[in-house]
C-alpha cells in the first residue's frame, strides 16, 4: 500500500495541477503533493517489509534512504518555487505537472527491485525533466535541452544494454532467475562472469552519463546553467541520486558475484577523472551556475570513488549522498535568488551580495563552505571518511589524486565565488523586481527554503542522530555486502510467518 501511494500521490497531484483553474490553487497542489509524498515516506520508516525474490517493488535499505532524500528535496523545492515563480510565465501547469511526474518517476526508481523496471523509471524521469529545462524558451535553453535529451537518451540506451547483458549472464543456469536484485544476489555465484563484467561496464557508462560523470558530463553545465534554478536543484540533488541508485544496483550484483575489486577500480577511475575534470573547468569560469554544475560533477565523482573503496568508503559515500542533496539544493536555491536580484549569470556582474541582501550573503558564504567541504558541514566528514578509507586499503595514489584535485576545486570555487559575497556593489545597479517591498514574502520564502536545507546540513554534520547513522550504515552495508544483507533478511522473513 505504501509503495503504491509513493508513486500514485505525486501523479494525482500532478494531474490536479493540470486541471485546476487558477495559479494559487495549482501552486497549493504542487506544495501539497510534495509534502504529502514526504509524509508517506516518513510514515514508512522504519522499514520492516523486506523485498523477496519475486517482488518487483520493495523498500530495501538503499532505496529507502535515497527515496527519503529525494522526497525531502522535493518538499523544500516546492516551497521555494512558491516564492520563485512569476505569474507571467506561461505553461505553468505543464511545469508543475512535470515536477510532480519527476517525483513519481524517481520514487518508482528507488523502490523498484527489478532492473528492467528501474530502467523504465529512470527513462521516465529524464523524459519528465526535459520540458523543465526548456522552460525558459529561447535558443540557449533549446541548445541545452537538445544536448540533454540526446546524450541522456544514448546513456540510458547503453544502461539498458548493460542490464540486458546482466540478464544474459543469468541464462547459464537451469532454473530461471528473475531480474530482481534479491534473486540476482542470491544466485550471484552462478552468474556468467564475462557477461556480468560487460554489463557492469555498460551500466557504468550509461548510468554515469545520467549522473554526469566525466567524460560524459558535457550536458550538465548546459542543462544546469539554462534550466530554472529550482529545476537545477532537483536535478543535481535528486535525479543524480536516482542514477546513482541504478549504478549501485549493478554494483550490488557484481559485489555479490565476487567482482567488487573489478567494479570498484572502475568506479575509482571514473570518479577521479570526474573530480579532475571539474577542477580543470571550475578555474577561470565566469558563470556561477556553470561552476555549480561542475561542483556537481565533482561530488558525483566523490560518490563513486567512495563506493569503489569498499565498506568504509561506502558509508562515507552514503553520507556524501545525503549532504550532496542538502548542499546542491541550498546552493541552487541561492543561485536562483541571486539571479532574481542581479538578473545575470555572470560572476562579474554579481558583487556585494552581503551589502545588497545581508541574509543571502551570509547564506551564500555558508553554502560555499559546505560545498568545499569545510567543517562542521557534513561534506567535510564524508570526504574525510573517503580519505581514511583510501588510507586503510592502502591505495595511496587514489588518496593523493583525490586530495590534490579537491584542493584545486576548493581554490577554484572560492576565488571565483567569494567576490560575489564580498566586494562592492556594481555602480549602475538598478533595483530589480524581486527587491520591491511588495515582494518581501517571496524573498523570505526563497531564503527560508535555502536556510532550512543549510541548517539541516550544518546540524547533521555537527551531530548525527542514531537513526540517521543507522540508516546510512545499513544502506552502505547493503551496497558492499549485499549477500549478508539479503541472507539475514530472508531469514527473518522466514521466521515471521
Amino acid at each position: 500500500m505504501t509503495l503504491f501511494l509513493l508513486v500514485a500521490v505525486p501523479l494525482v497531484f500532478g494531474a490536479l495541477c493540470l486541471v485546476l483553474p487558477t495559479s494559487p490553487l495549482r501552486m497549493a497542489a504542487l506544495v501539497a503533493g510534495a509534502w504529502a509524498h514526504l509524509a508517506v515516506v516518513i510514515r514508512s520508516w522504519p522499514s520492516v517489509e523486506t523485498p523477496l525474490r519475486d517482488d518487483f517493488l520493495g523498500l530495501d535499505p538503499l532505496g529507502h534512504l535515497f527515496l527519503t532524500l529525494i522526497s525531502a528535496l522535493f518538499a523544500a523545492t516546492s516551497v521555494y518555487f512558491v516564492g520563485y515563480h512569476r505569474k507571467r510565465l506561461i505553461s505553468q501547469r505543464v511545469f508543475q505537472a512535470c515536477i510532480l511526474a519527476l517525483l513519481s518517476a524517481l520514487s518508482l526508481l528507488c523502490i523498484s527491485q527489478h532492473l528492467g523496471l528501474l530502467w523504465v523509471a529512470l527513462e521516465s524521469a529524464s523524459l519528465a525533466v526535459t520540458p523543465l529545462i526548456y522552460f525558459r524558451l529561447g535558443p540557449r535553453a533549446l541548445e541545452a535541452t537538445w544536448k540533454f535529451l540526446l546524450m541522456n537518451s544514448v546513456g540510458v540506451a547503453l544502461a539498458l544494454l548493460g542490464i540486458f547483458c546482466v540478464a544474459i549472464a543469468t541464462t547459464c543456469q537451469r532454473n530461471p532467475v528473475a531480474l530482481t536484485i534479491a534473486d540476482l544476489v542470491r544466485n550471484a555465484a552462478q552468474l556468467d562472469r564475462t557477461w556480468l563484467r560487460v554489463g557492469f561496464l555498460l551500466g557504468l557508462v550509461g548510468f554515469g552519463t545520467k549522473m554526469g560523470l566525466a567524460p560524459l558530463h558535457s550536458w550538465k553545465p548546459d542543462a544546469y546553467g539554462e534550466a530554472p534554478p529550482p529545476v537545477a536543484a532537483l536535478m543535481a540533488g535528486g535525479m543524480t541520486l536516482g542514477a546513482f541508485a541504478g549504478l549501485l544496483r549493478m554494483f550490488q550484483v557484481c559485489a555479490a558475484a565476487g567482482l567488487s575489486a573489478f567494479a570498484g577500480s572502475w568506479l575509482i577511475v571514473f570518479g577521479l577523472i570526474s573530480i579532475g575534470t571539474a577542477a580543470v573547468f571550475i578555474v577561470g569560469n565566469n558563470d556561477y551556475r556553470r561552476i555549480l554544475a561542475y561542483t556537481s560533477v565533482e561530488h558525483m565523482g566523490v560518490l563513486v570513488v567512495g563506493v569503489g573503496l569498499g565498506s568504509a568508503g561506502s558509508y562515507a559515500s552514503m553520507l556524501h549522498a545525503m549532504h550532496n542533496m542538502l548542499n546542491k539544493g541550498a546552493m541552487f536555491f541561492l543561485a536562483g535568488f541571486i539571479w532574481r536580484i542581479y538578473e545575470s549569470n555572470e560572476i562579474r556582474a554579481v558583487r556585494g551580495t552581503l551589502i545588497r541582501s545581508p541574509l543571502a550573503g551570509v547564506l551564500l558564504l555558508a553554502a560555499l563552505c559546505a560545498t568545499c567541504g569545510l567543517p562542521p558541514f557534513g561534506m567535510f566528514f564524508s570526504e574525510l571518511g573517503i580519505v581514511l578509507a583510501a588510507a586503510q586499503t592502502g591505495r595511496w595514489w587514489v588518496l593523493g589524486i583525490f586530495v590534490l584535485t579537491l584542493a584545486v576545486v576548493f581554490v577554484g570555487v572560492m576565488t571565483a565565488l567569494l567576490p560575489m559575497v564580498f566586494g562592492d556593489l556594481p555602480e549602475n545597479s538598478s533595483v530589480s523586481e524581486a527587491e520591491l517591498p511588495s515582494h518581501r514574502w517571496r524573498r523570505w520564502t526563497m531564503l527560508g527554503a535555502a536556510t532550512a536545507l543549510l541548517a539541516l546540513g550544518f546540524g547533521l554534520g555537527a551531530y548525527q542522530p542514531h537513526a540517521v547513522r543507522d540508516a546510512l550504515a545499513r544502506a552502505a552495508d547493503s551496497v558492499c555486502r549485499p549477500q549478508a544483507e539479503f541472507v539475514t533478511l530472508a531469514r527473518t522473513a522466514e521466521v515471521q510467518p
Partner: protein, 220 residues
C-alpha cells in the same frame, strides 16, 4: 527454408540496411530505411518459438505488434512529416563524408564480429549472429549520431542504436516481463516524440535543423 536460415538472413539484411543509411544523403531515405529495418526486426520475436516448433505465444506477438506500430508506422510518420514540412531535405557536408562513413562503418562491423567471437553466450541462441549484429547496429547508430549535423539524422542515429539494443533483447524474451517491455517501448516513443518537438523548435528558432549552430554554450 528453415526458420534458422530466415533469422540469419534477416540479421544480415539489418546490417546492410545500416550501411545503406550511412550512405544515403536524403533525410527521407534514411527514415524509410529505418522503418524497413524495424519491419524486419518486428518479426524476429516470433522466430524463437517457431524454431522450437511451438506456435508463438502472446508475449512475442505483443512485442512484435508494438514494434510494428511504433517503429514502423508512428515514428517514421512523425519524422517524415517534419522533413516534408521543412525546406531541408538533404544532409550536407557531414563531419565524415558519405563514402568514408560507409568505410568506417564496415570496419566497425568487422570489429564487432571480432568482439562477439570473444564473448561466448552462456546459452544456445536463436542465431549466432545476434550478438555481432546487435553490436554493429549499436556502433553504426552511434556513428550516425556523432558524424551528422542535421537534428533529424541524429534522431535516426539514436533510433538505430536503440534497434541494436532491441536485437540483443531478443535473447531474453522469456526473461523480461511483458510489463517492462511495454514500458521500454512507451519510453522510447515518448522520447522520440519529445525529440521531434525539440527539432521542430530548433527549426523555428534557427530556420533550419543544423545542430552545429547549437554552440553558444561553452566555457568562456
Amino acid at each position: 527454408m528453415s526458420a534458422q536460415f530466415i533469422t540469419d538472413a534477416v540479421l544480415v539484411l539489418v546490417i546492410l540496411l545500416n550501411l545503406g543509411m550511412l550512405a544515403s544523403s536524403r533525410l527521407a531515405t534514411g527514415v524509410k530505411l529505418f522503418a524497413l529495418q524495424s519491419l524486419l526486426l518486428a518479426f524476429l520475436p516470433l522466430a524463437e518459438e517457431v524454431l522450437e516448433g511451438q506456435s508463438p505465444g502472446l508475449h512475442a506477438f505483443i512485442i512484435g505488434a508494438g514494434t510494428l506500430a511504433l517503429k514502423v508506422v508512428l515514428i517514421p510518420y512523425i519524422l517524415l512529416r517534419i522533413i516534408r514540412t521543412g525546406e531541408v531535405h538533404r544532409e550536407v557536408e557531414p563531419f565524415i563524408g558519405f563514402t568514408a562513413s560507409v568505410f568506417v562503418g564496415a570496419l566497425l562491423v568487422i570489429g564487432s564480429f571480432a568482439v562477439a567471437m570473444r564473448l561466448p553466450l552462456p546459452m544456445v541462441p536463436v542465431s549466432k549472429l545476434i550478438v555481432p549484429v546487435a553490436l554493429s547496429t549499436l556502433l553504426l547508430g552511434m556513428l550516425t549520431l556523432v558524424s551528422r549535423l542535421k537534428a533529424i539524422t541524429q534522431v535516426i542515429g539514436f533510433l538505430v542504436l536503440e534497434n541494436g539494443v532491441f536485437i540483443l533483447g531478443l535473447l531474453l524474451l522469456k526473461q523480461t516481463p511483458l510489463l517492462v517491455e511495454l514500458g521500454i517501448l512507451l519510453d522510447l516513443f515518448v522520447g522520440v516524440f519529445l525529440m521531434a518537438i525539440v527539432v521542430y523548435h530548433i527549426r523555428r528558432e534557427f530556420d533550419h535543423m543544423d545542430t552545429h549552430l547549437l554552440d553558444a554554450l561553452k566555457e568562456s
